[in-house]
Symmetry: none
Subunit: 399 residues, 2 copies
Amino acid sequence: MHTLTRELHIKNPSKIVMLVGDGLGGLPITPGGGTELETARTPNLDALAARGVQGLSIPVKPGIAPGSGPGHLGLFGYDPLRYQIGRGALEATGIGFEMQPGDVAIRCNFCTLDSEGNITDRRAGRIPTEESAPLAIRLREIRVPGIEIFVEPVKEHRFVVVFRGPGLGGHVKDTDPQATGVPPLEPIADDSESQKTADVAKEFLKQAREILASEKKANFHTMRGFASRPDLPTYEEVYGLRAAAVAVYPMYKGLARLVGMDIVGQATTLEEQMQVLKEAWDDYDFFFIHFKYTDSTGEDGNFDEKVARTEQLDSAIPAITALNPDVLMVTGDHSTPAYLKSHSWHPVPTLLVSDCCRPDPHTSFGETNAITGGLGQFEAQYLMLLALSNAGRMGKFGA
Amino acid sequence: MHTLTRELHIKNPSKIVMLVGDGLGGLPITPGGGTELETARTPNLDALAARGVQGLSIPVKPGIAPGSGPGHLGLFGYDPLRYQIGRGALEATGIGFEMQPGDVAIRCNFCTLDSEGNITDRRAGRIPTEESAPLAIRLREIRVPGIEIFVEPVKEHRFVVVFRGPGLGGHVKDTDPQATGVPPLEPIADDSESQKTADVAKEFLKQAREILASEKKANFHTMRGFASRPDLPTYEEVYGLRAAAVAVYPMYKGLARLVGMDIVGQATTLEEQMQVLKEAWDDYDFFFIHFKYTDSTGEDGNFDEKVARTEQLDSAIPAITALNPDVLMVTGDHSTPAYLKSHSWHPVPTLLVSDCCRPDPHTSFGETNAITGGLGQFEAQYLMLLALSNAGRMGKFGA
């Protein structure tokens, strides 16, 4: 699709807003009942529905429940099956580490070894963060010539290592043997481009073993999910959009950064996000606003709280419409029904409003209406095309 | 998609049932009238519709009417454009011949040659089965060193030959010249891997010519549709499912066997199929139940009889729901409208029931409701993904 958008996009002064309620779609919890979105009182979303068009977005393919990475890449218009973000890169992104092209990120787990060098606990007893973080920071002493190394604590036994330097491929096998009573594995390159990465990892592990040798809680670590920064073309390149992300959590800022969005503001609440949006309004063409709590309450299995958070999302709408965006979309990166306490495969209710969107007859926003909404069921990766066209930013394909 | 399902599938004790009414979809025969399914009294299917979700399954692509092979491969989750079953292999499968990997199957037609060796009738006057079968069986005398040969009578002028042995490619040109007054063609290999197959076919034809020389009704035969057994990954490999097929007709047993299903029972009626299902219930995770008569009555152009057969299909539902499957799907491999007396391209009404299927508002099952059903219109190849997800048998894609 980006071949087309690169050729056909047009620049104009229009403004596009994509408001993502993470895990927005849901399920009824009582037979014949409504979903979370249908149960919530959402006068502002319903008013948008009345003048807009709704439908169901399929994050990846029918029946596939995506993680946050593929869920957002789809919304951003990147085929999530083609552009896959490796585990290490996603972990680094999730803690706000800004990977550069050529970087290789690795998820590391502290572990314990016995006197023979065999693993006794692959997660070092889930060592508390306050004890593991100082250990991770001690590993910053490690030096490998020609390579810049970053070590970032995460939570409990987890930390992230990033190698930066020329010629580092991202295909190296995990050193976690997925078993105890055996020694950790050597890092082995899966292709010749990654041999140097494997060598650097080997040297890193050697020095880490010495540094950690006398530690009681965690005297070594494994390395998993080696991954290069995914090579994603930017919003500027493929859509001609100056794009801003207004997000609270590092993961979503990181995903936005991977497609070239600027991270604006330091909001910690939805109200602050709306303030940031207003302040950044003149400087950008496209705004991605991320709201986390429709997902986290779904993951908790708390239907009522997801309803309440959906109502909170609804309350942000007037601050957006006051800015008169040319195109306003409200959607989710996937469904997170409280009933399932997890991300799911169900298509996501999606709403688009513009002055030329061909409204459908619905006057409220929800999963059931979306089935018969004017957008139909469509793969998320096409939403950005609809946004560009509704903003007058796409030329005609062919003569 | 199987790359994803191989990685993401999870095993659990859930049970999935796919009930296929062959050629289920139909057309009205009077303006404004209902289809066969809509005309039939189907209280059990309607009760499922009330708690489930329906939609329209597109067997291959919009506007493509499939045969039984691609129709079922799609339902089984195999891209029917990628996995094509060669004509010889489908013919062998259809008569219940169990092809092994490496086998090459060929459709043969008895024909008549004049004294010059030119074809006078490409179908030997559609010689009756009772006369052609003994001739086919005489061809079992043919010996080619190193090759095991099977000759199976079919109907009228048709029979099937299968070669079994090492190094047999499946790409050999037909020997039927598609004309009379000319001699049959030589079997010519299309690639070097199939040279041995062509040589074996040549020797087979030489011996067949001698054996049949003095026969009056059919003194030779042509060979068409050379085909290797299609190399399909199994349900166990791609979905982690122990799968059973409860079918009556050899063709559908054969198709199920190609994807690694076990053929269970020897039912000859739908009631017996339900009994077989019950007996096999504990031993499998997935059950494919095939019902032929919604197709055959459609092919006959008998609207009323297709309605009656649809009601018969409906009557089997309680025996299935009594087993409490976690996921129950009712669908067809294609439409066979009595109005057209043939397979058609119309999308197929499809129903899915599970405890997490996000029900739609419909309370009866049929083509018109399916248009606005929650499954939307989707390619049949995604139905198995939906089944696995609804059964809790698919992990999340990406983090």
